[in-house]
């Protein structure tokens, strides 16, 4: 069976180079290319390639963001490609995730390709997904960055939703629902995980199940038992539970 390959890099010459090297391999079938993270996610969802060469540093959604956006069972075998990132390279080594450093020569890429083929044929993919998961957790902990945009599923394709547009986030089982004006989007994540990556100056947890954009808060009304109600400018009402009261206090005088 021939393997489907996706090459993700924001530079066309860089994609062409990988393509040139993998085309030579008789086991490789279809080759797809994506010039950014968002389109990479769409291609992976639609084509489910067996193997992805994934550039780490890309504008918008980076390589780690692509992996994060995919449910673990949809994650293909990934070979990270990076130009220079001391920290990421150490993390790759620790978690035994495959990576290639730019510039690379034909032999180095062939080696990565052989490893990937071996992993794919022996169906050790589950272990791989877990390793990538631990890698991401590591990287996010070491390099916490404030999310500015979040990848969501639009009607037809994925899009990066600017968080300034989001009014509130609510948890719903295994998902979090983002409300942005009249639209709402579901992402596979937990409020706890998102809360850590949101800008605390802009987003506040008001209860176990909701986070609000402080720019959208119209008023606070006292409720029963020391609870309060947060009224948003679009009229939505959310309970502010006592346990989370202190999160709003830093906005006080």
């Amino acid at each position: 069976m021939k393997l489907k390959v996706l090459i993700v890099d924001d530079e066309r010459p860089a994609r062409t180079k990988v393509r040139r090297f993998v085309t030579a391999d008789p086991d490789i079938g279809q080759i797809f290319e994506a010039p950014d993270g968002v389109r990479a996610v769409d291609v992976i969802r639609e084509e489910s390639p067996d193997l992805v060469f994934l550039d780490v540093q890309m504008p918008g959604l980076d390589g780690f963001g692509v992996v994060e956006a995919l449910p673990p069972d949809a994650l293909p075998h990934v070979v990270f490609v990076t130009a220079f990132d001391d920290y990421a390279v150490r993390a790759f080594d620790v978690h035994a995730v495959d990576y290639v450093m730019k510039p690379f020569d034909v032999e180095r890429l062939a080696r990565a390709l052989e490893r990937a083929k071996a992993a794919i044929t022996s169906r050790r993919n589950n272990g791989e997904a877990a390793r990538v998961d631990r890698l991401l957790a590591d990287i996010r902990r070491e390099r916490p960055e404030r999310l500015e945009r979040l990848l969501v599923q639009g009607a037809e394709r994925s899009l990066l939703l600017p968080l300034t547009r989001v009014d509130r986030l609510e948890s719903a089982r295994n998902y979090v629902v983002l409300h942005a004006g009249r639209e709402s989007f579901r992402v596979r994540s937990t409020l706890d995980r998102l809360e850590q990556r949101l800008d605390p100056k802009r987003f506040v947890r008001v209860s176990r199940t909701a986070i609000v954009n402080v720019d959208r808060v119209a008023e606070l009304k006292p409720w029963s038992h020391g609870d309060w109600v947060v009224v948003l400018s679009d009229g939505a009402k959310l309970r502010l539970s006592r346990t989370f009261r202190d999160r709003l206090e830093r906005f006080g005088p």
Binding site: P13, K17, P35, A83
Partner: protein, 361 residues
């Protein structure tokens, strides 16, 4: 700030308490030497009120003299200011002495205070005040001169550090490992398709590195030179992002020899490339403009990205390049420059730099 004020006041009071005690010990020993029988309490109150009078009045004199100096009054004219302040100081000091002693003496059971004939008192105290005043103002002058020269040293040192840092950052910017390795990777890719193009890229990269390494110590360069450096950088970026990047550089011929800080444009363009991504499918469009508006030189970099979400200061803080640029402009031109960020009506961000226009040497 408040705390500092209180501490200063406490130190000042302590200083004059010591002065008062020293003067009192002089008078006390004087009485002892003559085996006199004057009550020591009188001497004590007299000396302490005199010292605290100086403590209260001198700050006003110091304020007047410092104000004069700040307005550029120097030399013999500064002496005249002192000479004008001195009689006022002396009269107030003697009046203070009379008033406080008249107040304190009855309070501690020494009865009414007799300061003698006041007109003569004013004359009698004046020579003493000339000595005290001269001494204190001399000390203040030395102190001010010392702290001014220390401030100046600190400022010079700061400027030097900043310049070194800027040079290093510029170097880092072009030698930024990420940039360098990516360019090398692009060259190694292009090489398979077009040897001549790969060769050209290597030459551009070499030129760019050379320019950064041999940059003269001067902080300003002619705009034309700055544009050349920018073009080297852009040539490389155009190959890397051919289909996704279009850059237009529009520079009025009239401003080509205007002086600009070295490497002022590249961080702005880099910032536009990094944060001005318009999203999938749309090529990034960057426009660089330079023109003259009377005595001002305007440099603008526009992108068609998502624009600015947070506040302006947040954005400047985030783009490290922008924060560096803002600080450099501030140090080079003080208040005569401006770096502003504004969202464009059709989407995108404009970073504008305004400088005083002058021709490069």
């Amino acid at each position: 700030m408040r705390l500092k004020g209180w501490r200063l006041a406490a130190q000042w009071t302590a200083l004059f308490t010591i002065v008062g005690l020293l003067e009192f010990s002089y008078r006390y020993l004087d009485v002892l030497t003559r085996s006199g029988s004057e009550p020591l309490a009188i001497k004590f109150i007299e000396e302490m009120t005199g010292a605290y009078g100086a403590a209260v009045l001198l700050p006003f004199a110091i304020w007047v003299v410092r104000r004069a100096r700040a307005r550029g009054v120097l030399g013999w004219r500064l002496l005249l200011v002192h000479a004008a302040v001195l009689p006022v100081y002396s009269i107030l000091h003697t009046t203070w002495n009379a008033a406080t002693r008249a107040l304190v003496f009855p309070l501690v059971g020494l009865g009414a205070y007799d300061y003698g004939r006041m007109p003569l008192r004013y004359a009698m105290e004046f020579p003493m005040d000339v000595l005290g005043f001269t001494l204190w103002m001399g000390l203040v002058y030395l102190f001010d001169r010392y702290s001014e020269s220390r401030d100046r040293d600190v400022r010079v040192a700061q400027l030097e550090t900043e310049l070194t840092r800027v040079r290093l950052t510029a170097l880092e910017g072009q030698l930024r490992p990420h940039f360098l390795f990516n360019v090398l990777n692009t060259i190694s890719s292009v090489m398979y398709e077009d040897v001549a193009a790969a060769d050209t890229m290597l030459a551009r990269l070499a030129d760019l590195l050379r320019r950064t390494l041999r940059r003269p110590s001067g902080t300003e360069v002619p705009l034309a030179e700055e544009i050349e450096t920018l073009e080297l950088y852009l040539d490389i970026m155009r190959v890397r992002f051919a289909e996704r990047l279009s850059v237009a550089v529009q520079v009025d011929d009239a401003v080509r020899d205007a002086a600009v800080p070295a490497l002022v444009l590249q961080p702005l363009v880099e910032n536009a490339l990094r944060h001005g991504d318009p999203g999938p499918g749309t090529p990034a469009r960057i426009t660089v403009r330079a023109r003259r508006d009377d005595g001002r030189l305007l440099l603008e970099v526009e992108d068609n990205g998502p624009g600015l979400a947070g506040t302006e200061s947040e954005a400047v803080g985030k783009g490290v390049g922008l924060a560096n640029t803002a600080r450099r402009l501030q140090q080079l031109y003080g208040e005569r420059q401006a770096l502003t960020l504004s969202n464009l009506t059709g989407g995108g961000l404009r970073v504008a730099v305004e400088l005083p226009y002058h021709a490069a040497p």
